[in-house]
Symmetry: C2
């Protein structure tokens, strides 16, 4: 069995963590004994390329990405590039172009990991963040720009089609987990989009009578995230709220150094993309001090997505074992990858 | 000196906490010896009125509110009323109609108060949340509503004028505090509004060379809020991000039972409004178990706004003393108010 993987380390620590993610994934495949071959194709995107060529990710590359089975991404963004250029030109271009309807972000407090919360309790939930709509479409603009009369708009675009894809995925996950779905929005203020979300959740929910559904305003959800995160099983929310809540969730479960994500094309019309939720972290890049755990766990998510469940589970187990024994000793990025790979046997 | 105050308890625990806020305020005025008289005018808004009359807050009432020196508000909202009706019809109608440019939300971890964070450190910052724009304008709508082809939009409207009002207020506060201003947005994704915010901060910042300015993405800010909240002095941000971040800030400083806010008309063209940041909490309403501290501290903010600095400081000191000695003994809402009032001498 051969899987074709597009590898896109991007900027900053993306270049340091992606090799570790791949190292551990390859090792897990090797020891699994499964006849799986990974065919890796590199894609170069990011600040350096933009400075040299003015290009972010071309339309041709986006087309070419379609032929792969999955995309393994690092991070993108650099202070030397105007804010938004790489984010919109690379990251969001793929999420939108490849129909990554669901941005899946598991949040688990692994044993041995320190939470900033005094009494974190057991934390183990997943956030299903809608990935192709909301405030991320880039719609809007400005008039009388850079004058005292400037007006700038951002249009959050929400469709029944797009919301239903994410909501259905979330119900499926809740059904196979603890049957609790929390949908999060701000429908007391953003009534147009909020009521669409509410209606979709009610409608799709009729097909999942076993799943208990509750609603929280986004602001209230941030409170529970620090006072009672154990209450969550599956959270479904829009693109912007999901962005904010998953960083907070990562923080309470021990930091964004550990948080993996999958940008899933749920219809199978294009490859899904797997990436740490952290960014390029230019302040610590090039020093081999970044924690590659999020990239390694993204590798597990990718393996699971490709149907390699044994491989995925073995990576997760190796990571859990490594986390449980971390004692504050400083290790390089590669040493962490090596240690986790070594646990695979 | 006579101040005319519009009193609007609203729904749920609003009716229990507002009387305590007023009780403590009146007591603080009495003991201050200042020749200040409060003239209170009640306004009835909320779920009951809406059920009986279909009215929220009429245009006539909004006009009549203008003649007061300040508005003392409780909370609004009830599950029996469709989401958004009271929020848009009462709360936002006042914020927009009375030009409450700045939604001021102090966040302080008082001594004796338990934070959910293991190592909270010293927390003492204020959030200047823009109050009249962004995703709160209600702009947008839906087409093909309640069909699989529905499209719903929310338009975030941002103007140089509105952003500058808030940003200028934030710089003033930073200048008189620790000279650190953090502006928070998501300008790598919401480029139109985000870049307007960036330009305004840069421009206004030229007038405050002593204030150190830094930028954080909203998602990153939620991380720091739980890992390093001491870093903040003044935060300025848009309406929606401010809503989310201030609930989180309230949570890390011991809960929304303590968090006060002022909706400030910075041009002096209409009265400002003071309210707890918590809502009507229908689940605990009518039981006299709500904590009135947020309303009492809102009274202090109102006093300070009216120029009664001695009164404001004495209320804050009484609250601090009460908080320092709370030992988990259950007290009714009125007992907490009485205890704080008694400390005023
Ligand atoms: C880099 C940025 C565009 C991105 C987002 O906002 O989605 C990041 O924060 C994330 O969460 O993956
Ligand atoms: C009740 C609601 C409209 C309001 C808001 O979103 O601003 C509340 O959450 C607040 O923060 O004052």
């Amino acid at each position: 069995m051969k899987f074709s993987i597009a590898v896109m380390p991007g900027d900053g620590i993306g270049n340091e963590v992606v090799p570790e993610g791949l190292k551990v994934l390859q090792r897990a495949i090797d020891v699994s004994g499964e006849p799986v071959e990974l065919e890796l194709t590199d894609y170069f995107v990011g600040a350096q390329r933009w400075h040299e060529t003015g290009e972010t990710l071309t339309d041709e590359e986006l087309e070419s990405l379609r032929k792969h089975d999955a995309i393994f991404f690092g991070a993108c963004g650099d202070p030397s590039v105007p804010s938004g250029v790489l984010e919109r030109g690379v990251i969001l271009k793929m999420r939108f172009g490849l129909s990554h309807a669901v941005n899946l972000r598991p949040s688990k407090l692994f044993s041995g990991v320190t939470s900033p919360l005094a009494n974190p309790g057991e934390i183990d939930f997943v956030v299903v963040r809608e990935g192709t709509e909301g405030s991320y479409t880039g719609s809007g603009g400005s008039v009388r720009t850079d004058t005292p009369q400037e007006v700038a708009t951002e249009v959050s675009v929400n469709t029944w089609y797009g919301v239903e894809r994410a909501v259905r995925d979330a119900f499926e996950r809740a059904q196979s987990r603890n049957k609790k779905l929390t949908y999060v929005h701000k429908h007391n203020v953003m009534v147009h989009a909020g009521h669409l979300w509410r209606r979709v959740v009610e409608k799709v929910g009729q097909e999942y009578p076993e799943v208990a559904v509750n609603y929280e305003h986004t602001d209230a959800c941030t409170i529970y995230m620090v006072t009672d995160p154990s209450r969550y099983d599956v959270i479904v929310t829009d693109n912007l709220f999901g962005d904010i809540l998953t960083d907070l969730a990562a923080a309470v479960t021990g930091g964004i150094g550990l948080a993996a994500s999958g940008n899933l094309n749920v219809e199978g019309t294009a490859p899904s993309l797997f990436e740490p939720i952290h960014g390029s972290a230019p302040d610590i890049a090039g020093q081999q001090i970044a924690d590659p755990t999020a990239s390694i766990l993204s590798g597990a998510l990718m393996a699971s997505h490709l149907g390699l469940d044994v491989v995925a589970k073995s990576i997760e187990a190796a990571v859990e074992a490594d986390l449980a024994e971390r004692d504050g000793t400083k290790r390089t990025t590669a040493e962490v990858g090596d240690a986790i790979a070594a646990r695979l046997g």
